[in-house]
Symmetry: C2
Subunit: 267 residues, 2 copies
Amino acid sequence: MFHKNRIEAHYRRIAAKKKFAPTGGGREKDYPNDEDDPDLLVPAIPEDTPHIPYEPLKRSDEEVLQRSREYYELMAKRRTVRRFSTEPIPQEVLDNIIKTAGTSPSGAHTEPWTFVVVQDQETKTAIRNIVEEEEELNYSKRMSRQWVTDLKPFATKPTKPYLTDAPALILIFRQTHSWRQDGRKKMHYYSEISVAIAAGILLAAIQYCGLVALTSTPLNCNSRLRDLLSRPGNERLELLFPVGRPHSEATVPDVQRKPLEEIIVRV
Amino acid sequence: MFHKNRIEAHYRRIAAKKKFAPTGGGREKDYPNDEDDPDLLVPAIPEDTPHIPYEPLKRSDEEVLQRSREYYELMAKRRTVRRFSTEPIPQEVLDNIIKTAGTSPSGAHTEPWTFVVVQDQETKTAIRNIVEEEEELNYSKRMSRQWVTDLKPFATKPTKPYLTDAPALILIFRQTHSWRQDGRKKMHYYSEISVAIAAGILLAAIQYCGLVALTSTPLNCNSRLRDLLSRPGNERLELLFPVGRPHSEATVPDVQRKPLEEIIVRV
């Protein structure tokens, strides 16, 4: 655990080196470029952060093997669903799956994600309206004809009833950067890949607990949804997941996954 | 399940529309741009793919809640490890975790991934040599001074003994595109985000079965590792994961994750 005193001392040292006082949450342009001043080259977290032993539960080969089979069986049953039941899900479940996604690794432990969970019906309707308007343009004008054609077997279309039917929508915003406690800009390395890995862990959590989701990347919706949800300018919408239970009449396209031998190369 | 006959009929229809015979696995430049010829606008998988009922196991709210807690507890114990035991892991475990990653969703179900699993000691050494050479340059010349500084608390460095210690390295290559059965280019939509989501599911599988990994994005190593591993030109290295058990003296930096209230926004 970090010791609060140590963190504070760290930031006092940074502040002492700086020609201006720390203010917290300042804006990028208010500060000099770090590259110009080697005195400011201090890490975003204390350099003397201790390293502690890591001793996870040790499992036998037999147990590891058994669990690897069991987990594959569970995850292989996951499908993207486009018709949702309106049945609500407990708030704590949403909290837990987001906490789980938050355990994801990230570049230099920057955790560059904000999970916006929408359960309010009016906001879901507003989101649906925006996404449907943009999708109408995407399908008719912005996407290549080949792309629209390749989507036909999946029966995707600009109309998205799941955005108002699903009890919750989880929107993952990527923080392109943030600010340190001392007000300087904090760089978020590999933020795109970090956010998508967190999305994979979110999907794993949703599947593990017995719910379903639809993975979507709302094309050209970033600025309108960011405004609607009052997200700051350093955040960018990456993914949107309706989450809930499948409608009793939900169907999925009868496609299969590639067999192992098509995706693995053993060396 | 796809019926083989239906797929074959689908491709016969495509072939009949084309001015040239299908050859399979051709190269992009050998084929006209689809956009020039609307007759060629057929989906990558049959447009008449049937949709079938999806009825996953229905769990009660109580069970969903319980499982969401249990899964969070399990995943919260995951840490990135930089010292590995050389103890081997069963081949079937590697197969199963890769099969699990292969259940990931992807843009238009294109599954744009190749998982190269390296257990051969000589190849691991060759990979280590390449990564260390490039990392030496990354740290000294290519990365910003702020970036190198921000990594100090994590004790990362250009020397990577885990690349030869860990019993297996999993390298995820992203297929920027591929080829259809009829030889035409198959577009891989959202391939970056799809591959990273699959990496998240891979990490979830590794943690579930009781192994550890290190998430890395080998900077500037793509072309040398692609050549070493004889991967084709449509593949790009995205991530490299040493996988195994932690060394008995493995340590981790004593950092914490953001609390839920810092990553969630409820609407």
